[in-house]
Amino acid sequence: MSLSSDPAGIFAIETHGLSKHFGRHAAVDDLSIRVPAGTIAGFVGPNGAGKTTTLRLLLGLVRPDGGSATILGHSLTEPGRYLPRVGALTEAPAFYPGLSGRTNLEVLARLGGHPGSRVGELLELVELSDRARDRVGTYSLGMKQRLGVAMALLPDPELLILDEPANGLDPLGIIGIRELLRGLVAQGKTILLSSHMLGELERVTDWLIMLNQGKALFCGPAHELLAQRVEVVVEAEDAVQLGLLARIVGDAGYAVTREDHALRIACPPGFAETLTRQAREAGAPDLSIRVIEASLEQLFLALLKGERS
């Protein structure tokens, strides 16, 4: 895994060989990642990749078995030094269903020593003012999610750790969250954003961390990853020729998706030229080969397939 350099050199999060085991299972395995200050970092990986455990480690909720980390300049072993400047929404937001949205926020505001006026401001921000006095048990999933975002913003954090913040939101809500995140980054805040909505991540993130089986597959600027790979689309009427090409791509170690009369290959940009030459040599000249920019989803799948193969 390559750990790209950051020109600014100031990292809100840095981990070195961080590990966490549950029994024999390594949930996080020798993880070294970093997130530059003032960026939105996308945190992606399949289910069970170790994303949630990593977030819990950073929040001091679980204790690491090995490695170290620095968050906002303080060691992971001193959560009291950095957590007052961190806001978090981990997994599904959890609240006291018998209390109102306002009281739920007041519970945390009092605990964290935040002014009571902050509660009203945040309810306004997430557009829950009119339902603030209703029991959270009566809220929809999207409303709970918005309340969770308000909860994370309570301390006016320098670092915001969000796990699937757009889960359950309608399209307007998703756009609202996107705008909110951009606004927060414009204020100089850092956001670590874990999500399965890769298309949405691609729109907002400028730093990416890809995780699989507790290890980082990639950690660096999003544009660096996107430049690493393209999608090569090979089209042909002849199924035999396509089969031949699929074998060449497979031998080269790249992930290929077969459609009716086409192959989609996630690979480095230079591979298209190699493929054209090899196809000609193998006796499959009647092919249309196009190079298009790969989406984050395709890159993610390609990296994952590469990891598993």
């Binding site: 679980v62 957590l83 006291y96 018998g98 009092r110 964290g112 909860m151 309570l154």
Partner: protein, 273 residues
């Protein structure tokens, strides 16, 4: 200290939940109803074996406390369930992670929460005593004096001393029971398991062991918490066979032990819920 006060103030807000208020309401209703029944039986001239002691004590300085204390076994069980369920629910509901992100010093949070819970339980027990006093007042006005029942010893110097001793021991008992609830919740981290274990322990396990090893169980937490109150007024609970000072020392040791065990375990636990 400021963190503990913050945690305390934060916890107080959560008492607005209907589930918490319902448990406290049950505590009030049950104790008042039992006091009502007891008065009613005495006033209506009941002569059952279980009533003999109560009737005999009714005219003494211990009379008031004997009536008030009739529901205390149930109140102890309710208090234990309430503390265990309330703390364990932070894990079961997933709210623990929100709380510990806002207050990473876990022991300070636990101290603030337990302080609020113990005060809440004690407050409601006092409130139930007040209601019982109201019931007794009504009975005295309506029935007792008409039947020549004397209640003046209740408010004599000795009566007030007995009441104060009962109150002090009851508060100690509730603190001990709350500490027991705390360690059960910290170890189980689940409402269902916590409440199940707490009730099974206090209502069944100690009783079964008492049959086999009575000499040993007299030192068990449930027993000593209960018997220190029984010392004041034997009619409201068993008296400690080992004597009050020894039972009190054991109760304090258990309480400190539960607090220390919780303080050792809780900061080292992974919050995965």
């Amino acid at each position: 200290m400021i963190s503990v006060i913050r945690a305390f103030r934060s916890e107080v807000l959560k008492f607005r939940r209907w589930s918490v208020l319902a448990v406290a309401g049950v505590m009030l209703a049950v104790s008042t109803f039992i006091a009502y029944l007891t008065f009613h039986q005495i006033a209506s001239g009941a002569t059952g074996r279980e009533m003999t002691g109560l009737i005999a004590a009714f005219h003494t300085p211990q009379g008031l406390v004997s009536i008030i204390g009739q529901a205390r076994s149930l109140i102890i069980a309710i208090a234990l369930v309430m503390v265990t369920a309330n703390l364990a629910a932070e894990w079961s509901q997933g709210t623990m992670r929100n709380l510990l992100v806002r207050e990473p010093h876990r022991l300070r949070w636990l101290a603030g929460k337990m302080l609020a819970l113990v005060l809440f339980v004690v407050l409601f027990v006092l409130l139930s005593m007040l209601l019982t006093l109201l019931v007794s007042g009504i009975f005295i006005l309506v029935l007792a004096q008409g039947q020549g029942i004397q209640t003046t010893p209740w408010t004599s110097a000795e009566g007030l001393r007995v009441f104060a001793a009962f109150l002090g021991n009851e508060v100690l008992c509730l603190i001990g029971v709350s500490a027991l609830g705390m360690i059960i919740a910290v170890l189980t981290r689940s409402v269902a398991a916590g409440v199940g274990i707490a009730l099974a322990y206090i209502l069944v396990v100690e009783g079964i062991i008492a049959v086999v090893l009575p000499q040993v169980t007299q030192w068990f937490p449930g027993r000593v918490f209960n018997t220190i109150v029984g010392t004041t007024v034997p009619l409201v609970g068993p008296t400690p066979p080992q004597g009050y000072p020894a039972a009190l020392a054991a109760a304090l040791l258990w309480t400190v032990g539960f607090v220390v065990a919780s303080a050792v375990v809780f900061p080292r636990q992974d919050v995965t819920a």
